[in-house]
Amino acid sequence: MAEGKKYVTPKLDELEKGPWPSFVKEIKAAAQKSPMAAALLGQLEQSYDEKIGHWKHGGIVGVVGYGGGVIGRYSDLGDKYPEVAHFHTIRINQPAGWFYTTEALRGLCDIWEEHGSGLTNMHGSTGDIIFLGTTTDQLEKVFSKLTALGFDLGGSGSDVRTPSCCNGMARCEWACYDTMKVCYNLTMAFQDEIHRPAFPYKFKMKMAGCPNDCVAAIARADLSIIGTWKDEIQQDDEMIKKFADEGLDIQRQIVSRCPTRCMDWDGKKLTINNENCVKCMFCINSMPRALAPGKERGAMVLLGAKAPIVQGAQLSSVLIPFIDLEDEESWNDLKQLLENIWEVWCEEGKNRERVGEFALRVGFGNFLEAIGLEPRPEMVAYPRDNPYVFYQTAKKE
């Protein structure tokens, strides 16, 4: 592609200065080869002048046989910046944990330099590789080259969105289950659900290897899988003493900040009442070699997080307090659970109603019944505090 029209961009130029890497430099770099990127600079400068965006609602565009993966985008200044009159993005399913070989990355770059603006997001908030800006006619070409490279599109619209996960066992001593494996396997198991929107609304999945939740699963995923353990924290008293000797005030900084106050420190020995420990990770985080999650590891499954539109934000809440996820059986349980959830939600959910909102609307207890889970006290922060019980027995009598 030839170099595009050059726009005067004094405001954007300001953002080339300073120590943090500059997105303007990135756009300018792309603009060396892409007239689209060049036009983006022009339109963006105008936005900076006018303090207003210039993109219109997207239409439905995509690749054959897929309902998601592409976000249509059009400029409302198409006459002035014809190169970005159409400026769609493509969402590409990232490899689990965002690990790459340079070879794979270069392959992606080549495709995008040829068929798009040359601009990307590494990565989008959901986790996808984002190819930023192309026209409808390029979509199929990009798609066929992507699949040739071994990549596929991610989700968009009312489908399963691209699952994502923390790097887990790949590089973290705290991973309580294999996040990348679970992420990959779920992604593969639900290719149809990812590519062909058929739900009332989007459905996101994220896997974090421990309660530190380094992918913000509990805040951002309709289904959040978070590692945990059942047995005792592994404790190395030598190392604990070392921390103390090196000046860590174990009483003040650790023990008295444990959320359930389940530790005791007598100046020499740390005693954990593991029965009351809620596996928050804090003490473990603070003394990496001295403490570690237990040996009986697995995950908990939580449901329902979402951003605030329109009933207010939700955090995911516990659905399965503990699941092994290593054996075939628990893996099938998980998939079955998902099928059950989707079935109920598709049947009774309203348009644009996230599953967490749906579960609350019908009543969480009723929702559990419908998806075939027994109510458990681990699912609640506290049992109901209002007396408005829909006693069932009475009605049946």
Binding site: P259, Q314, S317, V318, L368, N386, A394
Partner: protein, 356 residues
């Protein structure tokens, strides 16, 4: 004599013993003396002994006069009642304590409830006076306190304060909604629509009274009335409060629910609402044994597991609801999961979980 109105209550100073008048606002500290008795020491050095005795709250004038006799004999004619309806005898004379206690106990009014103890049950009218009651109040209170008497008198030690309350219907007269253990009368049948409803009540008011929109206007035999969508009714009885022609009471289905972990004080933790423990126990007069057993079990768990001055709700937060339900042998069920206005916030929205 001219009819006097709006005179208000007598001024309290008239009723304060001299030692209080003298040391008003000048108390320095207090100490336990023995179970049921504490002493307050003033900056002046004056001492005031308080002897707290159990009261059923429902008192005959005869009993009140007996209290008065004791107060005249030992307390210079002064006494008071507490916010939990116990009676307190106030004296500066240490030597009066033992004889006073002896007389109180002989009268059937054990002394206790001070400091680390289970005090009186705050309760309501029940079948003695209220039209709304789903259970009796006094009978359950009597039975439960008979059972817990040693925790009141100090014969058995407890970790701190544990407040029990009872209300005979969801109106919750009292502080049932914020008690360590709450006993709550419940209806479990939608209101019956009486044929004379339209004469007694305004239909739009009745319809508006229902928070779940379970009531809608209807015509029966050409007469205006309402109908109840039974699946939508959660037995709040607000419609009955508004309209007598919608009775809720049912001899078979009414009963009692048990709630735990509420508190009012701001010490350590903030005030908390009581949470559902047992959704339903039958009305089983005269002694409601199921209620008594359940309350005792919960008390025993608290006595065994709580740290000093740890309230039941604080203890449960620390040990986790799963363990509490296990220890108490209560089946966790759908009913326990909130589905009302703030249901979202009652779910476990964290990975901080007490694993079994």
């Amino acid at each position: 004599m001219e009819r006097r109105t709006d005179i208000g209550p007598p001024h309290y100073t008239k009723f304060l013993p001299p030692v209080i008048q003298k040391n008003y606002g000048k108390w320095k500290y207090h100490e336990g003396v023995r179970p049921g008795v504490m002493v307050h020491v003033a900056e002046s050095g004056d001492k005031l002994y308080t002897i707290r005795a159990a009261s059923p709250r429902l008192l005959s004038v005869q009993k009140i006069r007996q209290y008065c006799d004791l107060a005249d004999k030992y307390c210079d004619g002064y006494l008071r009642f507490t916010s939990r309806n116990n009676v307190e005898f106030l004296t500066t004379k240490e030597e009066n304590i033992e004889p006073l206690i002896a007389e109180l106990e002989a009268m059937g009014h054990p002394v206790g409830g001070v400091g680390r103890a289970i005090s009186n049950i705050v309760h309501t009218q029940g079948w003695i006076h209220c039209h709304s009651a789903a259970t009796d109040a006094s009978g359950i209170v009597k039975s439960v306190m008979d059972d817990l008497i040693d925790y009141f008198t100090g014969k058995k030690e407890v970790p701190g304060k544990l407040r029990i309350a009872l209300a005979c219907c969801l109106n919750m007269c009292g502080a049932v909604h914020c008690s360590d253990i709450a006993i709550l009368g419940i209806h479990r049948r939608p209101p019956k629509v009486m044929p004379n409803l339209a004469q007694m009540c305004e239909i739009p008011n009745v319809v508006a009274a229902c928070p779940t929109a379970a009531i809608r206007p209807a015509k029966v035999d050409g007469k205006d009335t309402v109908e109840i969508i039974e699946e939508q009714c959660m037995y709040c009885a607000n419609c009955f409060s508004v309209c007598p022609a919608l009775p809720m009471a049912d001899a078979e289905l009414d009963g009692v629910s048990i709630w735990v972990g509420g508190k009012v004080s701001n010490a350590r933790s903030q005030p908390m609402f009581s949470k559902l423990a047992v959704p339903y126990l039958p009305n089983n007069p005269p002694r409601w044994p199921e209620v008594g057993q359940t309350v005792r079990k919960i008390v025993e768990i608290w006595v065994e597991h709580a740290e000093p001055d740890e309230r039941l709700g604080e203890m449960i937060q620390r040990m986790g609801w799963p363990r509490f339900f296990r220890l108490a042998g209560i089946q966790f069920s759908k009913e326990h999961i909130d589905d009302y206005r703030y249901a979202a916030l009652s779910l476990k929205r964290t990975a901080q979980v007490h694993q079994a």
